[in-house]
């Protein structure tokens, strides 16, 4: 079996992995209440970020890579200095229940989060303030993702729907019943007009981002699909599932082009580096594996 370039560990399930824009550092978020920053040159653990009092569900680098923003089951977001690992700010008051997902806009200090309170929230990360709540979901919000131009946010929920939101007003634009059962993950490519969603029904679906019309369905996972990410060129879609499997899909042909069976539990996160050369997969099995592509 092919070996990953790096095999990092947390002391509990790993819920998220994200590359910095320069592709030098990986941030990982875990149910052990911490985040870790890893060097992708040496594989060394650079910092362990402690401060959340419950599992950390998601994390992302700011556009310039200088900050990491994290979202936690403890209902808060935190902003960290990615160089020193020090805590800069804690953002609270936006959610009345677990925060389960997070996305950062690329062009502004703007974050969006979703939670078990069924809300979508926009945040001014610089000011540390929450905007008006995005209401409409009737189940926990499991996933949020910005469009390439940061003008649209798409969310997925336990209520089986995908919703389109205007950024940053939070005005609801569109709602689509997307999956049988919960929507577990959402991804938008860096360019183009697609939305990808994964669900409890074991399916990956592609949607027209402009119209919300369904385009195609990718089948192959044997349990619910938990994580999705587009490659930077938009040609490849990675998915991870409750079946512990990672699939790489050719977006044009809708065919699986590679299957990675290296985890022993649900794959909660998949992420491509900005240059498209690396794939990180994070799992409930406590590991993060970094794969060289191509």
């Amino acid at each position: 079996m092919e070996q990953p370039r790096f095999d990092f560990r947390h002391n509990n399930a790993v819920y998220w992995a994200a590359f910095d824009p320069a592709g030098q550092t990986l941030v990982t978020a875990s149910l052990d209440n911490t985040l870790k920053l890893w060097s992708l040159e040496s594989g060394a653990l650079l910092h362990r970020l402690k401060g959340h009092v419950d599992g950390v569900s998601s994390a992302a680098f700011s556009g310039d890579g200088s900050k990491v923003v994290s979202a936690s089951i403890d209902r808060s977001l935190k902003v960290w200095d990615s160089q020193t690992g020090s805590l800069i700010a804690t953002l609270t008051g936006g959610h009345q229940n677990h925060v389960t997902c997070l996305a950062l806009a690329k062009s502004a200090p703007l974050a969006a989060s979703g939670g078990f309170d069924n809300l979508v929230r926009f945040w001014d990360v610089s000011a540390g303030t929450a905007g008006a709540p995005g209401t409409g979901h009737t189940g926990a919000v499991k996933a949020v993702a910005f469009s390439a131009d940061d003008q649209i946010l798409v969310s997925g929920s336990d209520d089986s729907t995908l919703k389109w939101w205007e950024v940053p007003t939070g005005k609801a634009l569109r709602s689509v019943r997307a999956h049988a059962g919960s929507v577990e993950c959402v991804a938008l490519p860096g360019s183009g007009t697609l939305v990808a969603s994964g669900g409890e029904d074991r399916l990956v679906k592609l949607w027209d981002a402009t119209t919300g019309k369904p385009l195609t369905t990718l089948t192959g996972h044997t349990r619910f699909v938990k994580s999705l990410a587009f490659s930077p060129d938009g040609k490849t879609l990675a998915s991870g599932g409750y079946d512990s499997v990672v699939q790489l899909w050719d977006v044009n042909t809708s065919q699986s082009v590679r299957t990675i069976r290296a985890h022993r539990n649900t794959v909660y996160s998949v992420a491509f580096s900005a240059d498209g050369n690396w794939l990180a997969t994070a799992s409930f099995d406590r590991s993060i594996k970094v794969w060289k592509l191509g």
């Binding site: 002391n11 399930a13 149910l31 599992g55 089951i73 926990a140 539990n265 649900t266 409930f284 406590r286």
Partner: protein, 457 residues
């Protein structure tokens, strides 16, 4: 390595001038030997038919309540919302199946007895009932002693350098899980030694030279300081034993050596597997550290009579903390490795007839899987695994109904299990008593209702 040795720099507010903390001395004070004289102890052992042999117990507390129906009592005839995700696998005991995520255990089932009908849980998220066999409410004056405290009281120490009762549980956010076991009316002298809890400084008392250690006057002076504190708190029982035990431990490396796993063969350490000393569940619950199983074996080998440890977080209510099944896929293979290593190790050392191993939690989990993929608390029935101790193994005791809701055959109470452990330790629950703080003799279990599990003998 276990987190046995505490910080070298002790909080100045807590430390004496030579940097021994009051707390550490108090802890060592809590190790004191039981109240029996050596002749009394020998007589008691002879009466119990155990001679001079060293019987002991290793109790693994699965903090949070393990899912009985996903481990040793799978319900394949139940509907999907109850049955769960896992498949049963055959074991080396004909007709007995357990979860597919316990493959090593499946091949050692002949060394285990499974109780599928554990009843009597008070439904409290606490180690208390697993440590004492009793309910929290309506305790007698002084409180129920934990198993280890009662054994310490009745049998004393095997060796002057090792306390009879050790809890490897660390501090946790949920204090009721991290409860190491109270001394109760057995007296403070029989409280557990708790090397993995915060505030315990080195057993070698870092900062003290051997010359200083040999300076009896210095130590006595410090003990006197402590004594004044203890007197002020009314905790004066067992101070003679306190002195003896403190000196015993300080002048023997037996306990420190047992806790230093670097002394152990690397291949054996690998066989047990590893893990983290951090709480297994998002800042709470026991650590999922298989080296604690190894430490437990080394401790009983060194003379400890009762070792307890909290292991993992088994309180699996579901997302966003992972489904019951994701957590089971995480924890069960670890338990499988650690427990089978312990049983193998005990057998290879010829200790399996003397050491009773018990694995259980405070309750079972709901038959119906909740909307978040979890199972909630279910005190009506739970499971336990027993091994060693000279018991008849390779059997399943009791049964539950088709949905795993309640016991249908041979309900076994927590106190039945305790009666069994006491029997294995050479203590007759029908005659042994300890006086509560009112001077009233208290039996170790309610023996009019609960007795050793006869199928095991």
């Amino acid at each position: 390595m276990l987190d046995v040795f505490g910080p070298k720099v002790v909080d100045a507010k807590q430390a004496f001038c030579d940097r021994i903390s009051r707390r550490s001395l108090l802890k060592i004070g809590g190790l004191a030997m039981g109240g029996l004289s050596l002749p009394q102890l020998l007589e008691a052992e002879a009466r119990a038919g155990v001679g001079r042999s060293h019987k002991s117990v290793i109790m693994v507390f699965l903090s949070g309540g393990p899912p009985h129906q996903d481990m040793v009592d799978l319900k394949m005839d139940a509907p999907a919302e109850i049955r769960g995700e896992f498949q049963p696998i055959a074991t080396n005991v004909a007709g007995t199946q357990i979860c597919e995520h316990l493959p090593r255990l499946s091949q050692m089932m002949d060394r285990i007895s499974v109780i599928r009908s554990l009843v009597g849980s008070e439904g409290r998220h606490a180690a208390f009932q697993c440590l004492t066999g009793r309910n929290v409410n309506r305790q007698p004056p002084g409180g129920w002693p934990a198993l280890g405290a009662a054994v310490s009281k009745l049998q004393g120490a095997v060796d002057a350098g090792t306390p009879p009762f050790i809890s490897l549980s660390p501090k946790m956010r949920t204090g009721t899980w991290s409860d190491p076991g109270q001394a109760g009316y057995a007296g403070l002298a029989h409280a557990p030694f708790t090397p993995n809890r915060d505030g315990t400084v080195s057993l070698q008392l870092s900062g003290i030279t051997s010359e200083q250690l040999g300076d009896r006057q210095q130590l006595v002076t410090q003990l006197d300081l402590l004594r004044r504190e203890v007197d002020a708190n009314g905790e004066i029982e067992g101070l003679d034993a306190f002195y003896q035990q403190a000196f015993g431990i300080l002048t023997s490396d037996r306990l420190a050596s047992a806790l230093d796993l670097e002394n152990e063969d690397r291949r054996l350490r690998d066989r047990y597997g590893y893990g983290s000393d951090e709480p297994a569940g998002y800042g709470d619950a026991g650590p999922l550290n298989n080296q604690h199983f190894l430490a437990a074996r080394r401790l009983v080998e060194a003379g400890v009579r009762v070792v307890t440890l909290a292991y993992g977080r088994w309180d699996w209510h579901g997302r966003p903390h992972g489904t019951n099944f994701e957590n089971a896929r995480d924890h069960l293979p670890m338990l499988d490795q650690g427990l089978t290593a312990l049983l193998e190790d005990l057998q290879q050392r010829g200790m399996d007839q003397d050491v009773s191993v018990l694995v259980w939690g405070e309750f079972g989990r709901t038959p119906r899987i909740n909307k978040n993929g979890g199972r909630d608390h279910w005190p009506r029935v739970a499971c336990a695994m027993l091994a060693g101790g000279g018991m008849q193994t390779g059997q399943v005791i009791g049964a539950t109904n088709r949905l795993g809701e309640y016991a249908t055959e041979r309900p076994i109470h927590f106190q039945d299990v305790f009666a069994t452990l006491y029997r294995n330790l050479g203590i007759d629950v029908n005659t042994a008593t300890i006086n509560d703080l009112n001077g009233r003799p208290q039996y170790l279990v309610d023996h009019s209702h609960y007795q050793p599990i006869h199928e095991l003998f």
